[in-house]
């Protein structure tokens, strides 16, 4: 099968009866089997996927298709609750949890006829940027440095979602992004990752990490697919009070790569001596390219950028400490017997949560405690407001903002910094976007000297996903990035 299998191209093949959904699904299941070493999937829905594919083929025969993309197999981050399919959040505490309900986003995919191949590995409760915090072990990046055979991190938390798209273990996938969890792994794996505006996509049925920041989005091979999948998953949901009533656009149909006259901002605060030369080079090249294509490049300032990470690491853990309180061993999930209620709580949660999750629960509990609340939580919220207004000001001057997605390309699993704060720096370019509730996309631009993908990030104003996709599509069309990882796991 061609590596460039996309939602768009496969829809054509299916339409022309060049392939059936069952054949396509079987092919991907075979890829998954052969790619087990990558550890992308927590659960493979072999049987269900094949049954669903057959049903799709029947719908095609009876001309009763749910959408143009009916029958195309995708992967789902193991954070979306899926009816009858184990949903773990990559945590021991939920390792036996089978929901009897379907998240709005996955229901939307089902309504479009997409086939779920299974549940993709991620950092535990989406907390991490290397996928190492998963109870089910690290996901391996399909990419390797030309200079070393050592395994690399795929990024996180949607590491499985990004790696699976990159290695053809699914056509496209669903991820979630709280501080960069879609864009950072997309950047590390040469894929396109889109985090929609806060409220664009329903959070109902997604295991919550930090409610005011969480947003689901697509990870795909290209920008067109990102538009297609966003069309499918987005929209108002009355079951989510924070879901926006703003009408959604027809992103794919309205995709228009003409950027002439647009203003693209380059924020000075994102510049750093520590940025690898190849990343800086890609960033500059991309700016030049956009200029060549008719946009105006504008230097802008987002003065509170450097306060974003500390604010994020107060707000996100605060919300998480409360969101994760429900995993108490009483109603579902893991329970370790105790002498009394408190003992049961302690044993269950000690045993059920990994170190990073515990660390964030502790931080979150601390910053919300009486006596510390004003100094930490309230202050972080003030910073968040300042960051939001930075962007409000910026978007008075520019249509979109261009930055690197990550401060580095993928690094070795063994080299992950032991200092968590060092690790948190992975998200330094992506976190402000979540705090401001804006849409952001990471697209692959080039490979570095080690042949590892470099991702660039575009940001637009709230609910301007169309503009975001248009600019991204312009870059994609121009550079025609077509690098794929060598499939070392097949050898």
């Amino acid at each position: 099968m061609k590596d460039s299998c996309t939602l768009k191209s496969l829809a054509v093949l299916l339409e022309n009866n060049k392939i059936s959904s069952k054949e396509l699904t079987s092919e991907y299941l075979k890829n998954i089997e052969n790619g087990k070493e990558l550890n992308c999937y927590n659960t493979i829905s072999q049987e269900k996927a094949l049954i669903d594919a057959e049903k799709s083929d029947e719908r095609r025969k009876s001309q009763n298709l749910r959408s143009k993309y009916d029958g195309i197999p995708i992967g789902i981050k193991d954070l979306f609750c899926t009816k009858g399919v184990t949903t773990t959040a990559s945590s021991k505490i939920l390792s036996n949890f089978v929901p009897n309900y379907e998240s709005t986003v996955t229901q939307n995919c089902d309504d479009a006829g997409l086939i779920s191949l299974g549940k993709l590995n991620c950092d535990e409760f989406a907390m991490g940027s290397t996928n190492k915090t998963s109870f089910f072990g690290s996901v391996k990046n399909p990419w390797k440095s030309v200079n070393s055979d050592n395994e690399l991190v795929p990024g996180g938390s949607s590491g499985g979602s990004a790696a699976a798209v990159s290695s053809d273990l699914c056509v496209a996938s669903l991820g979630t992004d709280t501080g960069g969890s879609i864009r950072q792994p997309a950047s590390f794996t040469g894929t396109v990752g889109l985090k929609p505006s806060y409220g664009r996509v329903s959070r109902w049925g997604i295991v919550a990490f930090a409610s005011s920041l969480d947003q689901a989005g697509p990870i795909t091979k290209n920008v067109e697919d990102a538009a297609i999948l966003l069309d499918i998953i987005s929209g108002h949901d009355e079951k989510d009070s924070t879901s926006s009533v703003n009408p959604k656009e027809n992103y794919y149909e309205n995709l228009n790569s003409d950027i002439r006259g647009m203003k693209i901002g380059i924020p000075k605060e994102f510049r750093s001596d520590k940025l690898p030369a190849s990343t800086q080079k890609s960033w500059d090249e991309c700016a030049n390219l956009l200029k060549t294509n008719g946009a105006e490049i504008v230097d802008i300032s987002l003065p509170h950028t450097m306060s974003a990470l500390p604010a994020y690491y107060i707000i996100a853990p605060a919300e998480a400490s409360s969101n994760l309180a429900r995993y108490d061993g009483v109603r579902y999930g893991l329970r370790i017997k105790g002498n009394d209620l408190i003992d049961m709580y302690e044993k269950t949660r000690s045993e059920g949560f990994g170190d990073e999750v515990k660390r964030r629960i502790l931080i979150g509990t601390y910053v919300l405690s009486s006596g510390y609340y004003d100094a930490y939580y309230i202050k972080a919220q003030k910073i968040r407001s300042l960051i939001k207004s930075d962007y409000v000001e910026a978007f008075k001057k520019v249509d979109a903002i261009l930055t690197p997605s990550t401060p580095s390309t993928a690094f070795e699993i063994a080299n992950e910094p032991s200092d968590p704060v060092q690790n948190y720096l992975n998200d330094i370019f992506t976190v402000p976007v979540n705090l401001a509730g804006l849409p952001g996309i990471s697209i692959p631009f080039a490979n570095d000297e080690n042949n590892l993908p470099i991702g660039l990030q575009l940001i637009t104003n709230s609910f301007e996903e169309q503009k975001l996709l248009n600019v991204a599509r312009n870059i994609e069309e121009t550079i025609n990035y077509s690098e794929t990882p060598e499939k070392w796991w097949l050898k």
Binding site: Y101, A208, V330, L341
Partner: protein, 480 residues
Amino acid sequence: MVAQMIEGWNLVIGIEIHAQVNSKSKLFSSSPTDFGSKPNSQVSLIDAAMPGMLPVINKFCIEQAVKSGIGLNAKINKKSIFDRKNYFYQDLPQGYQISQYKDPIVGEGFVEIETENGQKKIGVERLHLEQDAGKSLHDQDPNFTFVDLNRSGIALMEIVSKPDMNSPEEAVEYVRKVRSILRYLGTCDGNMEQGSLRADVNVSVNKPGNELGTRCEIKNLNSFKFIHAAIVYEAKRQIRLIEQGDSVNQETRLFNTQSGETRSMRSKEDAHDYRYFPDPDLLPLTLDDDWIKGLQDSIPELPDQIKERLINEYSLSSYDANIIVSDKATSEYFEDVVKNRNPKLVTTWVTGELFSILNKKNLIIEDSPITSKQLGELVDNIENGKISNRQAKEVLEEMCESGKGALEIIDEKGLSQISNENEIESLVDNVLNSNPENVKKYKNGKDKLFGFFVGEAMKLSKGKANPKIVNDLIKKKLSQ
């Protein structure tokens, strides 16, 4: 006894009322709220806090809270915020209760109560909305506690008073008054036995002129009797401590309904740090002026207004009017009966005879076996002299048993009063002629025998004679 004990001390009481919102579904989910259903039969995914579940505000509950606020003469806050109150307990599925902390939906207001010294205004600090927790069942199994989540997520209004009450009686009056207002509004059924309305009472004592004392909170009182008893006990306990030279510890206490004592539940030091913060799953609640205005216009006449009207229209005493308006059903019943009738007579028959029958049968007025129409008919027959008061009581009792109308019973029992003067005169003559000795004694000054003659005459008429005419005739004949 109590008064003696408390004399010389000043009592300061503040009350938090938890009133269940009268609503078919829960505050953030569509689960039903019926009382007494099979355990865990009214639990949605949201109420059980399944992963990924999100709360959605039930607009009706918001409406009920705002109406209650209007009824408490309180400020309605156009912007309010739902917060999470974090603590772990088996019957709290989310690990937090969604409540309102800094920005409640209703701000300051007041209610007026009747006290020994007349009207008194009791300040309301705030009213906020919150979720109820589930129920732990400790008596189902020797080794396990069971949890029933039917209550989990039901909407409660917490109404916090200012520390404006100074006696157990005032405290009870305040809770009565708030309950009555909520029932008039239909925002809470006020059923204390079922736990629809419960009170946490804060009590402190001090010597007049001194600083306020340290307060203790007594949790979860679900009857007026318990509220009164708990305050009395607690005040005495605190006074005793201070008089012994000890000090009162700020703490939360539980009232034992068997022994009538309070005991310590947890001290201030053990108090939870609830780590309140705004619930990120819910946007701030904003209300617009027109919507609030619409609710204001829909508010029915409330007890204070009705009371005033009863006093003006029917010249009722403040005391009687108070009794009648204390309950919506009673005031409606009363107004049905009193229309075009003698208010004084109707008041007596509603608050006296009818209440005594209801009390005896342990019924509330909504379930009265005697309809307002039936009672009206009875009053008419007293008013037009057809039956005496005493006969009317008999009719009422029969009415209660058989459900028949007053006239029917009067006919059946042959109760109709004899008001024919000639007929009564012959009865009276009969009595006086048969008792010449007593007539002589009476005439010699033994006035008390008057009652004896009346009694005999009535007996002779089998109770049917109009007592007034009997009295008049006997008086007339004996003075001849």
